[in-house]
Amino acid sequence: MKLISRALALAAMLTTATALAAGQTLVVGIYQDVSQMNPVRTTSAANLRTTTQIVESLFRLDATTGELVAHLATGAEQIDDLTLQVRIREGVNFTNGEPVDAQAVKFSIETLAAEPVQVVALGAVSHVDIVDDHTVNIVTTEPYPLLALSLALNGHVVPPAYYQEVGPDGFAAHPIGTGPFKFEDRVPGQSITLVRNDEYWAGPVSFERLEFRPIPEDSSRIAALLAGEIDIATNIPASQYARLESAAGVDVASVLGFSAKLVLLDALPDSPIADPRVRQAINLAVDKEALLDVLYDGHGQISTCQLGTPAFFGYNPDLEPYPYDPDRARQLLAEAGYPNGLTVDYKYRTSSGDGELTEAIAAMLGDVGIQVNHIVLEGGEFLRQLSAFELRNMATLGITTAPDTTYGHNIFLQDAPYSYYRNPAFDEVVAQASQALDPDERRALLGEAARIACEDPVALFLFSLEDIYGVSERVTGWSPSPDNLFYFEDVRLD
């Protein structure tokens, strides 16, 4: 017995010692391992939240105001329909000593534009011309108003000599950039450790090391936070918000993100819900407020009949959510030729936690006479059906895009690879918007596209959900950003 208690005491001492030795390291528990450390080859925020600490872009998105802020650039100007002239900050070096200059920017942007995963963001770039040591002209094949935003999110500037020497995979193994941190070490599946860049051009951060630790299981990530093993835990389920809020030594921080929950509606010509009145009825039959309150403890915002929040460029402030009105829904169904209701297939994926949501929606639809066949699909199979046009007639989906409604609209264009929507007027307006360089004109066109997609509903619009983080009280000066990236400039550790 004595031996056991001694062993326990020893174990306790060792645990404490590990915690103390951590010193000025900030540890972030992430829900998904980083799969690609070369930012040139990824567009996923789950990867970029790590790589952007090392490799930076020309611009930054001020995620609260939605404004673009010059970063490695000092300014930009659209000099003709196809050319954006960018001035590059002087006196900045990569941590291997290579200078950040026109040559480096040209190499980076042209390398990015040739990568398949970057086609959506930077595929429109034709080439980059060097004007002088610190000025480049980025030339596109067609007018491309999203260029600056794309450069902010995906325009990672890499050191050309090093990148060419080690190649894309070598760069992933040891990325080098201009950022506040330098890559130190990676233990596969366990941790990624970065060390402070003391020469960071915008001034070094206050703590020495930053560690990302993948802990995919929600309960384990929360336990690690409560035990003081990690300082920030990402992706806290809404159901755990209250529990963490009342826990000692831990705060909860949340922000309305760029993801929307919705139910894709199949409007292909042979679909039973092709008639816009049926899709309107679906929107009227569902009590969005109740779903948000019961299933997500109210941690979100009801979508106003469009994808995106007011932080998105092109958000239409005049649109309102469809009210919860089952009587009107029944009436519309009768007008559309379904006085006795109809039966549709409704699919969702197991991995997304959408089961309860889908069941609740199905029950509400049942109330107005729409009977639902539930079909649960594994995540990969769900995506396969989506691209094979087998995901009919309804499917619960989460969509995350950059904060410009163009991206959301693009998904529903007739010739988009996954589109179950057919509306020539919508296609026309979105096409105009995608070439409109004047911001006011573009905003108006995108707003009009949103209005069309609300009246002839592309989806059952549900809500935008908050991204919830658990934060140790030893962290001050940090708040979550809606783009899911981390900014540590003002962070202090006790």
Partner: protein, 307 residues
């Protein structure tokens, strides 16, 4: 000499099994979906998808891909992970020690605790210890590993602050995953041992041994346990595969960076090269362990010989 040809024949069978597993994995993985769907955002254009497919070598016809895959595997080349763009074999091998460490710890605990409890129950047949062991075995087999793991974290890590909640690197971090992984097998082993020992106690040679005037201790350890070892070793051999796949739960709850988590992530991401590597390597290990168990019989039981 004759046992040498037996070994060769068994090894030949092993190769056929592995080829079958490799082929099945290759085609099954590919009919379940496309990794490109997962790598590109919803708004990606058709051209972007095709360009990525080319970059990943997924654009060739399936028979051509299969031919390349077999030619590569024969040379020990398993390709690069689609998601991580690292060599899949390297990823597997870097994760393997973590799982082996966990499985070995669980086997040791299973054998020591499981056989010990089983002996205890059998030798106290019908008395209190027998009932206690029955209850422990029932609980061990009934409580799901996932629940047990979370409860351990809640109580041992959060309430008592004794052990870290997860990760790998120190011996403390090995304790709770081992308990979770072995709990089911300890219970199973205790039951099997109890049954095998009870069976053996009734046999003539045990009576003879006692009649010779050997002490209880000598009879139990030298004769009874040895005879009961056959079913026990069989069980361990068969359960090694189960332990490797059962490790997924312990690895997930305790963030233990082993091959179980690697495999599950790869399957969800349709990361074909990693899925193939994990399945082929694990099948090889499983088949070889079974072969080793069969050979071990001859060592334990002189009545068994191969030819």
């Amino acid at each position: 000499m004759r046992s040498g040809s037996y070994l060769l024949r068994r090894l030949g069978n092993t190769l056929v099994v592995i080829l079958g597993v490799a082929t099945a994995t290759f085609f099954l993985a590919r009919i379940t979906g496309d990794p490109v769907d997962q790598l590109l955002p919803l708004e990606a254009t058709q051209e972007a998808r095709e360009a990525l497919r080319r970059q990943l070598g997924l654009d060739a016809p399936l028979p051509v891909q299969y031919g390349r895959f077999l030619a590569d595997v024969v040379q020990g080349e398993f390709g690069n992970s689609i998601r991580y763009s690292e060599p899949a074999l390297g990823m597997y091998l870097s994760r393997l020690p973590a799982t082996v460490e966990l499985v070995v710890a669980a086997v040791v605990v299973t054998v020591v605790v499981g056989v010990g409890l089983g002996m205890l129950a059998a030798l106290n047949h019908g008395r209190v210890w027998d009932a206690v062991v029955s209850w422990i075995a029932l609980l061990g087999q009934a409580v799901p590993g996932f629940y047990l793991g979370l409860m351990l974290i809640l109580v041992v890590s959060l309430q008592w602050g004794l052990l870290p909640t997860g990760g790998r690197g120190t011996w403390q971090q090995l304790i709770m995953p081992t308990i979770v992984l072995s709990s089911y097998y300890v219970a199973l082993m205790a039951r099997m041992t109890r049954a095998a020992v009870l069976e053996t106690l009734r046999l003539d040679f045990v009576r003879t041994a006692r009649a010779k005037g050997l002490s209880d201790r000598a009879v139990n350890l030298k004769h009874v346990l040895r005879a009961a070892l056959i079913p026990i070793v069989t069980l361990i051999g068969l359960q090694i595969g189960g332990l490797f796949s059962g490790a997924v739960v312990a690895e997930t709850v305790f963030t233990w960076p082993g091959i179980g988590r690697l495999a599950v992530d790869a399957i969800f991401a349709r990361d074909f090269p990693v899925v193939q590597t994990v399945v082929i390597m694990s099948a090889t290990i499983f088949v070889l362990v079974n072969l080793a168990v069969d050979l071990l019989y001859a060592v334990i039981d002189p009545r068994i010989s191969y030819g």
